[in-house]
Amino acid sequence: MPFSLLKYGLSGDYPFEKHPDLPQPTKLKKHYDVVIIGGGGHGVAIAYYLAKYHGITNVAILEKGYLGGGNTARNTAVIRSNYLTSEGVKFYSESVKMFKKLSNEFDFNIMYSQRGQLTLAHTDAAIRGFRQRAEVNKHFGGRTELIGAKEIKELVPTLNMNPGHLPVLAGLWHMDGATARHDAVAWGYAKGATQRGVELHQLTEVTGINIVNGKVTGVETSKGTVECGSAVQAVAGHSSLLAAKAGFRLPITTYPLQAMVTQPVKPFLDQMVSSSALHCYVQQTGRGEIVFGGGSDPYPLYNTRSTLELKESLLASAIEMFPFMANLRMLRQWAGITDMTADYSPIMGLSPVENYYLDAGWGTWGFKATPICGKTMAELIASGGKVPELIAPFAMDRFDEFRQVNEMGATAASH
């Protein structure tokens, strides 16, 4: 080993370049069977499952920046299935099951860490809501219990049981709650997809959608025109801008979502802990840093700036929950722009344009859905538009018919 290291040190070329994880970019071809707009976790997962399960490999992923450089790189990696509606719980539970097997499947460690998620109730109304969520979750095979203050104290001894003068009455303890390394998820899917023949074109922005007789025929890009049999947009915060190029509007508003992280400290917190009354969730990473975040910004904006207002309110809540954090220093803060729907559920499926599919409305909660969304969207695309049962409730036209899938209470401050 030391000799080979020495050899590399003296040789002119960089050892990894001979075995790249991702094939070198080529020129755009004239035609692809499927064009995927957006190279975040969702886009590359769709490509991976198209190639793996449906043998469709004449596929281009077009990404205006870098692989996984959007919200995939910015999220706080909460994976869970303790939602409220049966539609939601069924869907997210499948994703949690798939996440558990991803490291094996990729032969690449996504650092899946099942640590459990604890949501705090400070009011009787919250306890009622939690009871319902626990039952729905159990019904679909999840592991979720309503626990009392005494058990919470044992589980998280460092937690202040009276944060912000809001006594902790009970908690929703979701044992399946987990985190994973978000970048690794994107890289794993991208590697698996490109090894099967899919092309990933970074620094390639889609600037127009070509439609003939109501059917998508191709896309305009910063590197020229490309024809396609079908296309799917998976561009998170930019969803409405892409849809406008395809000539329709979405029931989506774009808001920034901010998060931050402290300097690393000794391990003290295994679980993820959140309080919707305090608009805050806290978790410790494997490196010891404490990540915390809250709800979206209070008004719409296409901008990833951070604000003093949010920092102040988030820090205040986090310190109320874990008072010793007042002695820590903040290391980094960042934001992503998120595509919010009115019911806090995603939009997956058909669009008003034939053969043009939607993977949007993921707001502040879409990382956890990456595997199952990729798999079901690939099924939809491969079948030429037959909507899989699991994602049928999330069609865009639910808003036209006033049958929203309301996950607001189960999402707002926990993602």
Binding site: S240, L241, A244, R249, L250, P251, I252, T253, T254, P298, Y299, P300, L301, Y302, N303, R305, T307, L308, E309, A342, F399, D400, E401, F402
Partner: protein
């Protein structure tokens, strides 16, 4: 600290204000289709541009209009809603035939 100028209370910290949505023309609830109503309630251009919005100063419950750029967050103008709405808008719901 970001400042917004309230037409009634002058310049204040933006955290004192509540966003109330884009100013949009309301279709006639008694005669429009479900789709038109959904379009009004849920759908939006959500573009990067100057948008005319409803805002409220929470401490005084005063509603007004702001023109703001959704990319730069620059607030170009704020003014009383009476500049846009010359008369009162009535929201009488259609009689449903139900008593109680």
């Amino acid at each position: 600290m970001k400042i917004m100028t309230c037409p009634m209370n002058g310049p204040r910290n933006i955290s004192e204000f509540v966003y109330g949505g884009e100013v949009q023309e309301m279709p006639d609830p008694n005669n429009c289709s479900d789709r038109e109503w959904a379009e009004y309630v849920f759908y939006s251009d959500n573009a990067i541009q100057v948008v005319r919005e409803w805002w409220m100063h929470s401490a005084s419950s005063y509603w007004f209009i702001a023109e703001r750029h959704t990319g730069s967050d620059e607030i170009l103008k704020t003014y009383p809603s009476t500049e846009l709405f010359k008369e009162r808008v009535e929201f009488a719901a259609k009689a449903t035939g139900q008593t109680s």
